[in-house]
């Protein structure tokens, strides 16, 4: 793989990098419409996998051996362990009469799907074009990938705002973190591995706490909807 990528660089490399980055963004858009908690978690795992793949591509093309380790750890944690932890923590949250363990979160958007996607496209476009004005250039990846990563972060915010169920909001935060990982891959590929590991471990702690709080919320509200979280105001 190393040989192939090295020979093919730069155009095939930057092309494939951009395609993967676009895939991450599309996965983010997909989260607007997932109707089942299980599918939402799967989509997150898929998005995380794409980022690990991109890390491998960069590692091969730019000869950064640390990134192989990062890709492996990131895949193990975000594509395997985090989804597993989430599944375990959210097991048995289905309301009575539903299938064992998996809760329907369809229709939790506060606007219709089409409107939400239009808003997200506008926000993503804003992020995409505003990055160009910054004049930040990466030594390892094309600047397009940076623009896409900022778009992912912004769309993750739209997701957290628009979907009114705690599971999608939590996944929104985790995918926001994926967007930041993508940014880090573009502009901070040389970040010492130990720091990346600390970040990943920190994410795991956050996932556990999010899972616990989702359980607390479900125990109180008997649904994953945030519609009744309106008592504290003023």
């Amino acid at each position: 793989m190393t040989g192939a990528a090295a020979v093919a660089a730069p155009s095939v490399f930057s092309g494939s990098a951009n395609v993967i980055a676009v895939g991450v963004l599309l996965a983010e858009f997909g989260m607007f419409r997932q109707a089942l908690l299980r599918d939402q978690v799967r989509l997150y795992a898929a998005q995380s996998t794409l980022i690990s793949v991109l890390a491998v591509v960069v590692a091969a093309a730019r000869h950064l051996p640390d990134l192989y380790v990062l890709a492996g750890l990131s895949f193990a944690l975000k594509a395997v362990i985090v989804p597993a932890v989430l599944r375990r923590l959210l097991r048995g949250l289905g309301a009575r009469g539903e299938g064992p363990g998996w809760t329907d979160i369809a229709g939790s958007g506060s606007l219709s799907l089409a409107t939400t996607v239009l808003v997200a496209i506008a926000v993503a476009a804003f992020g995409f074009f505003s990055v160009a004005a910054l004049g930040i250039h990466s030594p390892v990846l094309p600047t397009t990938a940076l623009a896409i990563s900022i778009a992912v972060v912004l769309v993750a915010f739209v997701l957290m705002i628009m979907r009114r169920d705690v599971a999608s909001q939590a996944i929104g935060f985790f995918s926001l973190e994926n967007g930041v990982s993508l940014t880090a891959l573009v502009v901070a590929a040389g970040l010492p591995l130990i720091l990346e590991i600390v970040f990943l471990f920190d994410l795991l702690v956050a996932v556990v706490v999010f899972g616990l709080l989702i359980r607390v919320h479900h125990g109180r509200a008997e649904s994953l909807s945030t519609a009744d979280l309106t008592r504290l105001r003023g």
Partner: protein, 537 residues
């Protein structure tokens, strides 16, 4: 010195482990002892840190600026650890005999309190922006669990809003950290590890665009946890629903630690970009927070929400103070961090006693506090006067210095707005507080306080369906909205617990000392921290 620093890092974590395993009586004693020990350790580090930076093991770095925040955090840790003994003692009298639910609650509380203090003490000791971010993220997740610990509908809602909003903010702060790395790596090479010292050394040569982006993202991201408008929305909910000792720590040290992170970004941004850009950003957020919070103070019905908005106000003052940039203003800001920790800690702890006494958080139901609480009543009044920047308390001195710095650096308009905002906030706080403490109680036969509350509480207990209320009553918190006190008993004069008075009294003394004559060691420390912030050290 290394031993002291390591102990500071290890003691709270050890206390958490002990609380997890040992009987509750041991947990109480250990937390209070270790809390006081941490305060002592910070004071032991103080003289050295006011002369030179301390760096150990590659990941620990303590300078004068860190010690200011360590002082605020360890003081509150010690105070709250003592206060919590009294706070939790009353839940036990709830049911006859040992209540297993309450024992579990207490254990979680002690473990969480120590872990929370540990994360907040670790944050200012970290040597790099990356580790600082990690420590602050850890404070978020631990404190979110502590907000949820009451197991009421309100607590669940507040905890969810808090963890989601604060984490999203910290997502932006992580982005800021990444861009700070990018900027640093342009000068220092790809193997740069985000440590402060090398970044400050080369700050003048950093590229502008990424530093600007990093600074704005850091103010927005860490500002979310600091409670700056418009990203403060989680703050009143979390402060009002958390157990009172946790509210005190949230307000006095958690917000301050996030402010510390912003100061670190300010430190290198001001050198890289010139002071104008970072100061303007802070000025905008500061003025907005101050004015909004000052107005919100008038419409509050809940005593803890009232104090929470007062925190937003004071965080705004901190941001404005940094934006003035004059050394006297910066000295005022750092003193303000300490004085605010003492004053807001006192106010929350005093409010906890009032809430306990009257069995409600509704401001309208708390009357005649000064008569019923011979110690806590006056102490709460003093804390509120201190928060309103009355002399001779520490906040008067610090706000005076900030305003003076504002006029010195030609920020006349901003200084005027600051004075107006502080005055409005003072009236907002003072009006409600004097009613609570001085207005005599309307004696309605056998139904004081708590009985009036549901009728007045638009968002309170009355609105909750019966089954939810049942579930809530089962695990009723000691001072939650449906406190354990049956509303029929008439209230008598007296303090609920001596443990809940001692730390508040100590805090009041500290406030007066800070206001009248801060010790020379402290002024040396602040002077060095100011030099560090202005890029001169």
């Amino acid at each position: 010195m290394l031993t002291i620093v390591l102990l500071l890092l290890v003691l709270p974590a050890a206390a958490a482990v002990i609380c997890l395993l040992a009987p509750l009586a041991v947990a109480r004693a250990v937390t209070a002892t270790f809390g006081a020990a941490c305060l002592g350790l910070v004071i032991a580090v103080l003289p050295a840190a006011s002369h030179h930076d301390l760096a150990y093991l590659g990941f620990l770095r303590i300078d004068a600026l860190s010690v200011v925040f360590l002082l605020a955090t360890s003081f509150l840790y010690a105070a709250v650890a003592v206060y919590s003994i009294g706070y939790l003692a009353h839940g036990r009298a709830n049911d006859d005999g040992a209540d297993p639910g309450f024992t579990r609650y207490s254990r979680r509380f002690w473990v969480g309190l120590n872990l929370f203090a540990w994360a907040m003490l670790a944050a200012p000791m970290m040597s790099s922006l990356a580790l600082l971010w990690v420590a602050i993220e850890v404070t978020t997740v631990i404190s979110a669990l502590l907000v949820a610990i009451e197991d009421t509908d309100g607590a669940a809602e507040a905890a969810w809003k808090y963890v989601l909003i604060a984490s999203a903010g910290l997502g932006l702060a992580l982005l800021a950290t990444i861009f700070a790395y990018y900027a640093g790596a342009q000068v220092l090479g790809q193997s740069y590890d985000l440590a402060f010292s090398p970044l400050l050394h080369v700050a003048a040569r950093l590229p502008h665009a990424p530093v600007q982006l990093a600074f704005v993202l850091a103010v927005l991201g860490f500002g979310t946890k600091m409670g700056l408008f418009p990203v403060h929305t989680w703050l009143p909910d979390a402060h009002s629903e958390a157990p009172t000792p946790i509210s005190a720590m949230l307000s006095g040290s958690l917000l301050a630690v996030s402010f510390y992170a912003i100061l670190r970004f300010y430190q290198f941004s001001a050198v890289a970009l010139g002071p104008r850009f970072p100061r303007n950003v802070l000025l905008i957020f500061g003025i907005a927070s101050l004015l909004l919070a000052a107005l919100y103070l008038f419409g509050q019905r809940d005593i803890k929400r009232l104090l929470a908005y007062s925190s937003v106000e004071h965080m705004g003052i901190l941001a404005i103070g940094v934006s003035f940039g004059a050394p006297i203003a910066l000295a005022g800001v750092l003193l303000h961090v300490l004085a605010h920790a003492a004053a807001k800690g006192n106010a929350f702890m005093g409010a906890g006693v009032l809430v306990h006494k009257f069995g409600t958080k509704q401001l309208s139901a708390i009357r005649g506090g000064l008569d019923l609480l011979p110690w806590s009543g006056p102490l709460f009044l003093l804390a509120v006067l201190a928060l309103g920047a009355m002399p001779p308390f520490g906040i008067f001195r610090s706000e005076f210095e900030i305003v003076e710095g504002g006029f010195a650096s030609h920020g006349n308009a901003a200084a005027a707005v600051l004075i107006i905002g502080v005055t409005v906030a003072f009236f907002g706080l003072a009006a409600t507080t004097t009613q609570m403490l001085l207005q005599p109680r309307a004696v309605t036969a056998g139904h004081p306080g708590a009985a009036q509350a549901p009728a007045l509480a638009a968002v309170g207990a009355a609105a909750i369906p019966a089954d939810a209320a049942d579930r809530r009553a089962r695990t009723a918190p000691p001072d939650g909205p449906q406190g354990h006190r049956p509303s029929a008993a008439p209230l008598t004069r007296g303090e609920p617990s001596t443990w809940m008075v001692i730390p508040v009294a100590v805090g009041a003394v500290v406030l007066i000392v800070l206001g009248v004559h801060p010790p020379a060691e402290l002024t040396d420390l602040l002077a060095r921290a100011v030099r560090e912030l202005s890029g001169a050290a």
